[in-house]
Symmetry: C2
Subunit: 194 residues, 2 copies
Amino acid sequence: MLTVFGDIRSGNCLKVKWLLDKLKRDYRWVETDVMSGATRSTEFLAMNPAGQVPTLVLEDGRALAQSNAIIGWLGEGTDFIPADAYLRAKMYEWMFWEQYSHEPYVAVARFQRAYLGKRAEEIEPRLMKRGHAALARMEAALAGADWLVGDAPSLADLALVAYTRVAPEGGFALEPYPAIRRWIGRVEAAFGIG
Amino acid sequence: MLTVFGDIRSGNCLKVKWLLDKLKRDYRWVETDVMSGATRSTEFLAMNPAGQVPTLVLEDGRALAQSNAIIGWLGEGTDFIPADAYLRAKMYEWMFWEQYSHEPYVAVARFQRAYLGKRAEEIEPRLMKRGHAALARMEAALAGADWLVGDAPSLADLALVAYTRVAPEGGFALEPYPAIRRWIGRVEAAFGIG
């Protein structure tokens, strides 16, 4: 059986959980508290030297890390990865953009508010500015399209929805982004996210 | 013919150039100066709303962004992408890690030194600390292996070598990392990087 080491509050970890549930895969979830140093133990680092969750462990003991690489592996052969090579590359384009231009702002602001208990005025203005720039880019893309890539839900939608749906917890109100709000509902329905 | 909008000093752009050259693909290179605002023009943003290089434009006008998504697309069907699904996922694991835990420190410190002309003492200590943590992780992985994934050069090596080989320009001396130094030579030879 697959084992997932994950933090249930982390969007990166939830991407993996949601896809496993949607695909009705059997798995064991090992709740791993990143705040308590659990990802810095010798045992954990032997599994994933980057010391990050989520980490997936296969039945044979081999490990796989990085949320978007994990969902890419789990999603192989499903309709959530486009068959067309260009659309598949666009899916990865969004997923790399998510980790470089969205997560470091939208998720980090939320982490500082929700995990570290910082107040709104203690969040670096740069995080808020770049987070809003990421949301504005998504809003423009979704104003004329139901999904980020092609005409069907893909791993790009799953990867982006994880922190976008909880962006308000980081101080990013979603009222100015009506296309994003409608898209969140579509993605939650497509992946059965409760 | 393919068109690449790129900055020849940027490791992210060079990944694309090196792979095109190695695969003997015809392409047109449009040198794009990120410092002059060229990636913020209306024309450029219509192509890539993220306003980043590299951006690849296909013969039919469709665009593709994010260096690692571009090399993933160019590399399809070549030996630089492992046929085994787990190894392919490990390749993407390294490529996502590169963009999240290596580039934002190793490349950003180099950008501040080489593009912005900052002095060593003006670089945020956090950048140096995290950059060295990334290099230490690579050193550990390469101490017992010739390549990052499996027994052959892959896109993971190409993605990681881009900024690792010029890490000294960002103030990261590579003397403490002998396995990395040997690996750089291997990757340069495998991809014909001059």
